[in-house]
Symmetry: C2
Subunit: 161 residues, 2 copies
């Protein structure tokens, strides 16, 4: 059933779907996919072998990136839900990160799929705040807090021909 | 003269020099290089075109990664200096990130070389804290605060045959 869930990134407008972290149109990127599981937003990623820190562990920059990208995806999902819409009911709104806090609790083993799980802790018309965990093989190895804001319309418009 | 400065990452022990962010032995990675400029630690990186967010701007995960990696490199340089050594006087110590705070002040244009500049704000035998800016074309677009700790000897030893 998991694989049938709709990911919010699949409904970003085509002209703002190239982000290295979450854009479905960026073949070199992570192409993060975020779905609802109850009231949690969840993304899962399998790191590449070259995403190493010291041998055997995941490079911290990838962890920070995934927490960041999950934040904007989770914010989009949360805004849809707030508007009474489910993922897939029209285009998803785009958010950008205002601030990111990462606490690296322990080394993250390189090998297992990584799971990022978020909770919405604050939401207004233009701002969404999430608290997140990142886990590997069921053990939480990092925590994040992401403040996101709705992408300014001028930024979106600037990408249009 | 800049190009003659020694980068701290070039003196990491060979068995812990594979990090995607800063390892000279990771051909797929960023291979960040950190040098002293007076009391500032400085790293410069030219993003790839695929490091895009929405078109025209740098993906935030790269910014977070560079601030993170610059933190561990800057910490290594600072610890050497504290011990009365310059970069290149023997092996450089390895640090890991305990926490990372990033404030995205404005969109970072994709194109110019990015400069990360750090200041050491706290240093003890095992911990170094840095405050950082990231700028593009001379304009500061993000700020970071990184708490790093000396890599536990057990982690280093575990990488040795």
């Amino acid at each position: 059933m998991e694989s049938e869930k709709k990911a919010v990134q699949d409904f970003y407008p085509e002209d703002v779907a190239h982000c290295f972290g979450c854009g479905r149109l960026n073949p070199e990127g992570h192409r993060l996919k975020t779905v609802w599981e109850g009231d949690d937003t969840v993304s899962r990623v399998k790191p590449h072998r070259y995403h190493t820190a010291i041998p055997g562990y995941v490079y911290g920059g990838l962890i920070a990136s995934l927490l960041d990208c999950h934040g904007t995806g989770g914010a989009a999902a949360a805004m849809l839900r707030r508007e009474g819409r489910d993922i897939g009911d029209g285009e998803a709104p785009r958010f950008v990160t205002a601030s990111l806090q990462v606490d690296f609790l322990k080394p993250t083993p390189l090998g297992p799929e990584l799971e990022v799980r978020g909770r919405i802790v604050e939401i207004t018309d233009r701002k969404v705040v999430l608290e997140e965990t990142l886990s590997a093989g069921g053990a939480v190895t990092a925590r994040g807090r992401v403040v996101t804001v709705r992408m300014p319309e001028a930024m979106v418009a600037a990408t249009r021909p």
